[in-house]
């Protein structure tokens, strides 16, 4: 019997190998390292065509070790020519680097490098997806709905920033740890949101992004020094959302809103995982937006039907979120919940206080919310007009189709 090769083995192993080699050779050589690792996978692919190794993971690790030694040789001979090249930054033997806990250690260091403040947010995400998660530039571009050359540039700038700031492959100093962790959580959260809220037609890409964000936070939670209420809450939040990722679109790739999702299809083990993490998050003193967002997500999955949703708790959480991080987007969420609670006067007040131009690409949600408000008021022509306005405000085909469907339903019922 042949081993079945586990999903994403290459992708995850790529991140591991790059992290190990970087630990050994230093961040200055990261480009060489990434090329070498990529080359290893191409060779494995060709070699495994006919004969699969009994233990693919051990095989890859062995190749990685040999690769380290090869690289050491070539960098040394390079060093003879260019004195400034440094190699060998680690004091533990090569073989120890390949122990499981050391591999994790190296990967965690890479997470902090990716989220280093010298890198711009967009560069952080691109760099993390490439170097930690083993995405190609093409895959990153598809995931972030960006052009490939833009991603190439971000990656170049990220690497340049690492060299220019002489960033070391180390954990932050204790006094910096909390602030650096905050940024790490933001990057993970953004990556997850790119996957979860994106209207990317490719479901796999969405799942991959969400999966990576969850994997990284899991890795961080393994180490006591990185645990916090916020980290657990973030993990909970992502798992609650991920549990209903598949229900967000139907087989025709149309958007299905939470009211119409098949609640039996939500992934129960994932919800359980999330619940446990949410409980854990309360054992720490810190409180973050993730706590409230996780609670909101929990309220949604807890409701047996849409009608059972406890909108009062959700509104409370949105109020808290607004206190921590006032934004027009938070206001919009409050307005949406207020409409569900049939507090239509409050909803109108909130909607009128929103500076809609601050909502950017999400403006269509604002007009969609107005449409719902007018529909509840029984003012159908106004509701339809706002749906039409919302449709013109999104360029995304899925969103357009969704809004059009709602508009047509409204027209049909009159």
């Amino acid at each position: 019997m042949q081993h079945k090769i586990i999903d994403h083995l290459f992708r995850h192993h790529y991140g591991k190998m790059v992290a190990i080699l970087t630990r050994f050779f230093g961040l200055a050589h990261i480009e060489t390292i990434e090329d070498a690792v990529q080359d290893t996978f191409i060779k494995a692919t060709l070699q495994w065509r006919n004969q699969r190794p009994d233990n693919p993971e051990a095989w890859l690790t062995k190749v990685a070790k040999n690769r380290t030694i090869d690289l050491l040789r070539s960098l040394k001979s390079e060093k003879n020519r260019h004195q400034q090249v440094s190699a060998g930054t680690v004091s533990i033997p090569i073989s120890d680097l390949f122990l499981d806990h050391e591999i994790e250690d190296s990967q965690l260091r890479m997470i902090f490098v990716a989220c280093h403040p010298s890198l711009k947010p967009q560069e952080q995400i691109a760099f993390a997806l490439k170097t930690i998660s083993g995405f190609s530039t093409k895959e990153i571009a598809a995931a972030l709905l960006t052009r490939e050359d833009a991603i190439t540039k971000r990656l170049q700038r990220a690497r340049a920033a690492i060299v220019a700031n002489n960033i070391q492959f180390e954990f932050p100093a204790p006094h910096e740890l909390q602030i650096r962790l905050t940024r790490v959580m933001e990057v993970i959260y953004l990556t997850f949101n790119e996957g979860f809220h994106s209207t990317n037609a490719d479901n796999l890409i969405r799942e991959d992004l969400c999966g990576e964000a969850i994997r990284l936070s899991k890795l961080l939670l393994k180490k006591e020094k990185f645990r916090s209420g916020s980290m657990y809450a973030l993990f909970a939040l992502m798992c609650f959302h991920a549990a209903r990722l598949e229900s967000k679109t139907n087989s025709d790739n149309e958007i299905v809103d939470i009211r119409n999702q098949d609640r039996n299809k939500w992934h129960v083990p994932m919800i359980e995982l999330a619940k446990n993490a949410l409980t854990k998050s309360a054992e720490y003193k810190d409180v973050s937006i993730y706590h409230f967002e996780a609670t909101i997500a929990f309220e949604h999955v807890k409701a047996v039907t849409f009608e059972d949703t406890n909108w009062n708790i959700i509104l409370h959480c949105y109020n808290k979120l607004y206190e921590i991080q006032p934004s027009d987007f938070a206001l919009l969420n409050k307005a949406i919940v207020t409409i569900q609670l049939n507090k239509l006067n409050d909803a109108k007040d909130i909607l009128e206080s929103i500076k809609y131009d601050k909502l950017g690409q999400r403006q269509y949600l604002y007009y969609g919310c107005y449409a719902e408000y007018y529909a509840k008021m029984g003012a159908m022509p106004a509701a339809i007009a706002f749906y039409e306005k919302a449709i013109t405000k999104t360029s995304n085909a899925l969103e357009k189709a969704y809004l059009l469907k709602k508009k047509n339903l409204l027209q049909a019922s009159n």
Binding site: I5, L9, I42, T45, R49, N50, R52, S136, K138
Partner: protein
């Protein structure tokens, strides 16, 4: 039964910049194909080829190193299979995994002299 060589041309993974995830996916497809052929007992051999090329040309035996102009014509590997006819090999070649990457399968019968 006759022997045929299936020659795989183009679809160089390195040049196409496939991601680790895509490489794993490709590998799975090749493996499935090979397994299918092996189960039917038709594969006699085959290898993937390293993409570095050296050419020796002409009466002066001029040696030149690749890469050469068109990598779409680069041979990436081969299988030798035994089959009734070229048409049967065309059937076998339906499962070649890299058509979508611009790959080509060339089928050549191995020449046998009658004794």
């Amino acid at each position: 039964m006759k022997d045929f060589m299936m020659i795989f041309i183009g679809a160089d993974y390195q040049e196409l910049g496939l991601s680790p995830e895509q490489l794993q996916e490709r590998m799975g497809k090749w493996f499935t194909w090979n397994e299918k052929m092996a189960a039917q007992g038709i594969v006699k051999g085959g290898d993937a080829l390293v993409p570095t090329v050296k050419r020796v040309i002409g009466k002066d035996r001029t040696v030149s190193d690749g890469p050469f102009a068109d990598s779409k014509e680069l041979i990436g590997g081969y299988y030798i299979v035994s089959a009734e006819s070229a048409a049967a090999v065309v059937e076998i070649a339906q499962d070649y995994p890299d058509y979508d990457l611009g790959g080509t399968v060339e089928i050549r019968e191995v020449m046998v002299f009658n004794k």
